[in-house]
Amino acid sequence: MVPAWAVVDVAAIEDTLMTSSKIAMNDMVPAESAPLQTLGAALLAAAMALPLAVHAESAPERGLISLKHLDYLDSQPGDSRIKVRTTALMVLAPITSEWAIGGTLTTDSISGASPAYQSAALTKMRDERHAADTALTRYFPNGSLTLGVNLSSESDYLSRGLSVQATSSNESKNTTWSAGIGFNSDSINPSNKVVADETKRVTALLLGVTQVLTTHDIVLLNLGHSSGRGYFSDPYKFADNRPRDKDSNTLMLRWNHHLEALGATTRLSYRHYADNWGIRSHTLGLEYVQPLRQGWTVAPLLRIYSQSAASFYVLPDAGSYPFAPATQGYYSEDQRVSAFGAHTLGLKVAKQLDADWLVDLKFEQYGQRAGWRLFGSGSPGQMAFNARTVQAGLSRHF
């Protein structure tokens, strides 16, 4: 009589008895054709005596069926005990394929002897698997929590940031809420010593919702607020003295639509920005992503931007040089805080090389003109500004 505690993997036995044709004989000695004295079977038989069965909380009937089966076999005369052992041994037979030497295949998990090595390789694997790993993300079934730490350092500027973002989806995953908070602390030590040991601290809040409207439509709404205190001026600009506080709000709307007939996606977005410096801006973006045959994708994009000037923006006045502008208080001649409009025309071409590798080329033509400002006039005296960027990228999917 095989003791109850010697029955291993109660449920697995029943399952596998149903699908016995699936048992691979690769690793187990088939009972009919080879003697059971082989070392492996002996070791396995010994291991079978370990208490590797656990009382199932559910499905006691299954346990009973298996026991009955084993009982039945055991009651046969002759080499019944061997048959019992054989059946139980067979159902556990591992199902594997051949070893593939060389570490090029994607792995789900790692077997090794050293915990230290384990974590090094696992970390590397995990880093590769989850693309955004400078942040640490913990995934839950209906949400995620991301902790981001960033540190960047240049000879004159040290930036430290910490952010936390959480997302939460409803059951059907059609609605996802996200909320985030970030802190940044920068130290500024310009090499021209105009100022020394200045700091800038910014706190940012983000609230967003993504909603799947139909099988072909997703909309996104993001609200952001940023509050900064400290040194905002540009030390390398001659006439630049900006306020020591900057509070801003942003609102962004995006609509992604899938065009079934073409297999393409359109992405329409609008972003509004306003801060206490008097700058208000609008960004309208339209992108069209068209996948083609052979893994190619083309994506043209158009972006229209317009901003008003900061209240302290002053025209570069060659007349008052080398003295600061006549205005008291804050001033900046930086055209980035002036009123202007800008257009971006871009084209991205990408090719999926194989299951993992993607190569892409992005071409953008940017033009900035005071006269292109919408809803008002641009700052006078601005030079037109054009920029062309070409970017090539190679990426691997994990």
Binding site: D27, T38, G40, P94, T96, D108, I110, S111, G112, Q118
Partner: protein, 299 residues
């Protein structure tokens, strides 16, 4: 069905459960039960807990027999079968050699120290009767470290199977028990660590079900004058084994996989014959870096 990857720390290592179930509460319930089981075994057979069964047996060395529960008793019987199968190389009384081999000091032990400790080794001398065990000489000790992790992997696997898990696996720092393939029926791809390169994978094997464990000379070691001294010690002479860099075995149970791998390491140049006699799927790399692999048997 969704796949959840649940990492946790146990046996001083990074462990994980990968469970493919229908929803989160199910995954959490399974994970809690499996992790609790691993922690139970870790605590029960830990040398470092003074009231664990192992500590009590070791403390009573040279004295009275200590009564064992059924689980411990069956583990001791299993240890005996390992001793027999390995011709005495797998000996759970050989843990005392730890006192001579200090892998932090990078120092070879004095021969006198080794001789003294070798007097305390000898599974045959351990008295087992009526579900009680006695170590006949003070200073002798039992060490379940040689198969504790693999046993815990199988026990965690049994707990998960009892809770209905059909797709997923347990990985306790490299000792694995796979309970079923991915939900779509495809195999889990398991990589084997390169014994000389921390972040490289030496080989990959697709596994649908079974136990997979790896033994190697890189877990704890030091190198002196170009020679590597690892933590797997031959109980007959107290010296580290040198023939294999790493051995991985696939078997129905993680305990069998792990013990076969360790015995192959201990058998050194006879290890290959041993692995062939076991009839299980293996991958072994010797000191020259040559990879020996068991091909799947022809039907």
């Amino acid at each position: 069905m969704r796949t959840f990857r649940i990492p946790f720390k146990a046996m001083a290592s990074a462990c994980e459960l990968v469970l493919a179930v229908d929803d989160e509460p199910e995954a959490q319930a399974m994970a809690r039960a499996a992790i609790a089981e691993v922690q139970r075994i870790e605590a029960k057979y830990s040398r470092y807990q003074p009231d664990s069964i192992v500590s009590r047996i070791n403390a009573a060395a040279g004295g009275q027999a200590v009564a064992c529960d059924e689980e411990t008793w069956s583990l001791l019987n299993y240890a005996d079968s390992l001793y027999q199968s390995s011709d005495g190389l797998f000996d759970i009384t050989s843990g005392v050699l730890r006192r001579a081999w200090n892998f932090y000091d990078h120092r070879l032990p004095a021969p006198a120290d080794l001789d003294g400790l070798r007097q305390l080794i000898g599974w045959r001398r351990v008295e087992r009767e009526a579900q009680a065990v006695r170590l006949p000489e003070a200073g002798m000790e039992l060490d379940f470290g040689g198969f504790g992790k693999e046993y815990a992997a199988d026990r965690a696997g049994a707990v998960l199977a009892a809770k209905g898990l059909r797709h997923g696996y347990v990985n306790l720092a490299g000792d694995m028990r796979v309970l079923g393939p991915k939900p779509d029926g495809s195999s889990w791809m398991i990589g084997i660590q390169d014994p000389r390169d921390k972040t490289a994978i030496l080989a990959t094997i697709p596994v649908e079900r079974g136990g997979l464990a790896t033994s190697g000379d890189y877990e704890r070691f030091f190198e002196l004058d170009g020679k590597r001294y690892c933590h797997i010690l031959d109980p007959r002479n107290g010296q580290p084994v040198t023939h294999w860099r790493t051995v991985s075995v696939v078997a129905p149970l993680a305990v069998v996989a792990g013990n076969c791998a360790t015995i192959a390491m201990l058998k050194q140049s006879d290890g290959l014959a041993f692995l062939e006699a076991c009839g299980m799927n293996y991958l072994a790399v010797d000191q020259s870096g040559t990879v020996h692999v068991k091909r799947a048997a022809q039907a």
